[in-house]
């Protein structure tokens, strides 16, 4: 007997051990997410995939699917919560979409469009953050980092290099680079690393090919994220 749960009235089959997110994505049901990437162990930090499972709030990416569970994903209340979470990410860093090379292919921007976030309403924190352009092929703009730790996971689990780590605590938590100077250029990082191709936002950017694809013709300029999915997956294919 195959197992099923229900998302917003639609029946979703799943295999034992799958999460709500795994099963939903496999069935073509989009649940907004940023820190989740099916190639990596789930993380559960961005909380955008918050759903209710039998009435209780849970992050879909780390919640095991359960038989006959009733999952709510697209309700007004959950979409409103996601907009607030997105607002938090926007005011926490310094995100200027019009001036960002990633615009149009940025998951943060695309999820914000999908969830109906129109303008930031929360108080901007305007943190002082650096841009690290020390590496010959890749730049890091820490202003746009959303602490999804995909680069941390990719460098550790796929590249076997542990180039990245998180330091600090609370609102002071931040990405650090493993090198004596703390600069990317002095680390073992390489443009061919998996970690160079997983950033969902414009924090880790390849150099020398800015605006290769014109604004207006980029992934999410043409289709909503709910249809085309993660930018990292598109880059791979």
């Amino acid at each position: 007997m195959s197992k099923h749960f229900v998302i917003d009235g639609r029946e979703i089959p799943f295999e034992e051990g799958e999460t709500v997110m795994d099963a939903a994505l496999a069935a073509g049901v989009y649940i907004p997410h940023l820190c989740h990437n099916p190639e990596f162990h789930p993380h559960g930090s961005c909380r955008l995939c918050i759903v209710t499972v039998n009435g209780r709030h849970a992050a879909a990416c780390i919640t095991p699917a359960a038989d006959d569970a009733v999952v709510e994903n697209n309700s007004d209340a959950l979409m409103a919560q996601r907009r607030t979470l997105l607002q938090m990410l926007f005011v926490e860093g310094n995100h200027g979409c019009p001036a960002c090379e990633k615009s149009g292919a940025c998951q943060l921007q695309a999820v914000a469009y999908y969830c109906g976030m129109l303008a930031p309403e929360l108080t901007h924190l305007y943190p002082r953050r650096e841009v690290d352009a020390s590496h010959s092929d890749v730049a890091i703009d820490f202003n746009r980092c959303i602490l999804c730790e995909l680069c941390v996971r990719a460098s550790r689990d796929v590249d076997g290099k542990d180039v990245f780590a998180i330091s600090g605590r609370g609102i002071g938590a931040h990405l650090v680079v493993n090198s004596e100077s703390g600069k990317l250029g002095d680390s073992q990082f390489d443009a061919g690393d998996k970690a160079a191709h997983v950033c969902p936002v414009g924090a880790i950017l390849p150099k020398h090919r800015g605006y290769d694809v014109p604004i207006g013709e980029r992934l999410y300029d043409l289709n909503p994220i709910s249809r085309v999915g993660d930018v990292a997956a598109q880059e791979e294919s």
Partner: protein, 598 residues
């Protein structure tokens, strides 16, 4: 002071901690204690020997409040900043110290002799204002003592030669009930499991109705049974002595006066679940207890109550080591505590799997509060009916409460569950009470109209913190203090808690300073409910409680501070121009908004 090299100290620490990367935090604490910071050279040495990356170690140092990459003063003074300390004058005393020593709070003096700062509640609410100097506890501070301390620091007097009464910590047990007035024969609980067996003991524990005393109230017998039933070669018992909830200190008293019972309880648990390894995770603020606890462990080893073949029972091998925390409230959350035991940043784990199946280094692990383990030991010795003789149906036994704030007899009180707030307030000599904070900042603020409510899992559930506020107190200061606390203690892992706590703090400040409108209150509700409903762990789920609960129960206090306009900017436009003024070198009238801004 003899000169010691980073190389020698680090090598000794690495040896002491068996060159095990899982002991990284303990090694870093040792380096911090020896050199008042952890230098890049020390990081490189440790990284090399433990095969860890530099960034990884920097990440651990950056996580814990008491570890520093930059040098701290020879005397590192941290004033406990809980609201109860503040109410007894801690901020004024810090101001005195700052002036007397010439060092701003939050900084280290240029000559590197002294650092001054604030820290989360040090667990001395009944004998504050309190502080830590190089992690040693200072209690009952007065202006006179501050004066003396400033003098001692200027003389570079070693801590060992400071007046010992400065470091005195009193038990202040004000009321004893079932646990504290009964005796426990050493070894009686261990003997119970050896002679009656694990199944029988689990049955007795279940019949007793014992639930976790840390606040969550999970059934202890069930936790132990899950761990017992998990398949593994090694199991682990952990005592959570990271008593970080502001306003609580009853575990400190238990650790100080009843450590033998605690270790008895841990050994009992080991016997029941089949554990061979035990840890006591002791918060750094209780460092002063470490030596006595180590000695108690040695006494028990000598008496064959720890070690191999305990009480002559072949195969009953169990020992306990003590790990220190380093200033992180989140490590009281059991999965964050396990991460910290493993030498990592204290980030709460994804659950499932729960610690009872995959805990310390993936082994099935029971994590219990100090009071829970002591209660378990005494139930094993005295039987479930003895325990059931107090409390209610859902909340068997008694609860230790740490009572502080506006009352004449602060201290530790043991009450049967079901006791009303009224009774407690009467007993501790609290008059003219406006509100009681039950279960710390993560709990709730109960107004006087609800003082008929009782302490019980089915009503007011608490780990033990109880802070009393008289009619003279401004509760908004309390809410602000608690909101600041959560900003400081959020681990930063998940978006809502990391960002939401700071956004709430800023909005609240706008309210308290009289610049808010009703829109700000609505926004605090929105942010607060997202923090509560979407956070990763219990800290985040409760971090908005002071504000959400405050607006619900004491709405008039918030509304009284509002401006009548419907919109006020969140920032001061003139202050925002300060940087531009500095760059342009101007500070004339025209360079300010009030002056026309031209």
């Amino acid at each position: 002071m003899t000169q010691v090299s980073v190389e020698d100290v680090t090598a000794d620490l690495l040896r002491q901690w068996k060159h095990d990367p899982y002991n990284l935090l303990q090694i870093l604490i040792g380096v911090q204690q020896a050199f008042h910071h952890i230098s890049a050279a020390a990081v490189d040495l440790i990284a090399d020997k433990l095969s860890l990356t530099r960034a990884n170690i920097e990440g651990v140092i950056g996580f814990y409040s008491f570890l520093h990459a930059q040098p701290r003063g020879l005397y590192d003074l941290l004033m406990s900043d809980n609201i109860v300390d503040q109410m007894s004058g801690s901020r004024e005393l810090a101001g005195m110290l700052a002036q007397r020593l010439g060092v701003e709070p939050g900084t280290t003096r240029a000559d590197a002799v002294v650092s001054l700062g604030y820290t989360s509640c040090t667990g001395m609410g009944d004998q504050g204002p309190a502080a830590l100097v190089n992690n040693r506890t200072l209690t009952s501070l007065t202006p006179q003592r501050i004066e003396q301390i400033a003098g001692l620091i200027e003389e570079r007097m070693p801590l060992g030669e400071w007046p010992q009464e400065f470091f005195a910590v009193n038990g202040n047990i004000q009321r004893r009930d079932l646990l504290l007035e009964s005796d426990l024969q050493q070894g009686a609980a261990i003997d119970a499991v050896v002679s009656r067996g694990a199944e029988q003991l689990l049955g007795e524990l279940e019949a007793s109705g014992l639930r976790g005393r840390g606040g969550a109230g999970f059934r202890t017998a069930l936790k132990w049974r899950f761990c017992h039933d998990a398949s593994a070669n090694e199991r682990v018992v952990v005592c959570n002595a990271d008593e970080g909830e502001p306003g609580t200190f009853k575990d400190r008293v238990l650790l100080q006066a009843y450590a033998d019972r605690l270790f008895e309880g841990m050994t009992l648990c080991a016997g029941v679940i089949g554990a061979s390894r035990g840890f006591l995770y002791l918060r750094a603020e209780y460092l002063y207890l470490l030596e006595d606890l180590q000695q108690e462990l040695q006494r028990r080893r000598d008496a064959n109550l720890l070690g191999d073949s305990i009480l002559g029972e072949a195969g009953f091998d169990f020992d306990i080591e003590i790990h220190l925390g380093a200033g992180a409230y989140i490590c009281g959350e059991e999965s964050a505590l396990i991460e910290s035991l493993e030498g990592k940043r204290g980030i709460p784990r994804i659950r499932p799997p729960f610690p009872v199946t995959e805990g310390y280094r993936g082994r099935p692990t029971v994590v219990n509060n100090v009071e829970t383990l002591i209660a378990a030991a005494m139930i094993a010795a005295n039987g479930p009916e003895w325990f059931r003789s107090r409390g209610t149906d859902d909340s068997a036994g008694t609860k230790l409460l740490s009572i502080s704030g506006d009352c004449s007899r602060p201290g530790v009180y043991e009450y049967p569950y079901g006791v009303s707030l009224e009774t407690i307030l009467h007993d501790c000599g609290a008059e003219d009470v406006q509100a009681v904070q039950v279960a710390g900042p993560a709990g709730q603020c109960v107004p006087s109209s609800e003082f008929d409510r009782s302490i019980a899992f089915e009503d007011l559930s608490t780990g033990g913190s109880m802070m009393i506020f008289s009619q003279q107190r401004d509760l908004l200061n309390v809410v602000e203090n608690f909101s600041d606390f959560f900003v400081h203690e959020s681990c930063g892992f998940c978006t809502p808690c990391r960002v939401g706590t700071t956004l709430l703090q800023k909005r609240l400040h706008k309210v308290v300073s009289g610049h808010a409108t009703s829109e700000d209150l609505a926004m605090m509700r929105t942010i607060g409910s997202v923090v509560r409903e979407s956070s990763h762990c219990g800290l985040g789920m409760t971090a908005a409680n002071p504000i959400l609960g405050g607006m619900e129960k004491f709405s008039e206090l918030f509304e009284a501070r509002l401006k009548s306009t419907s919109f006020e900017p969140a920032f001061d436009l003139d202050a925002a121009l300060e940087e531009a003024r500095q760059i342009s070198g101007r500070d004339d009238v025209g360079a300010h908004i009030e002056g026309g801004g031209v």
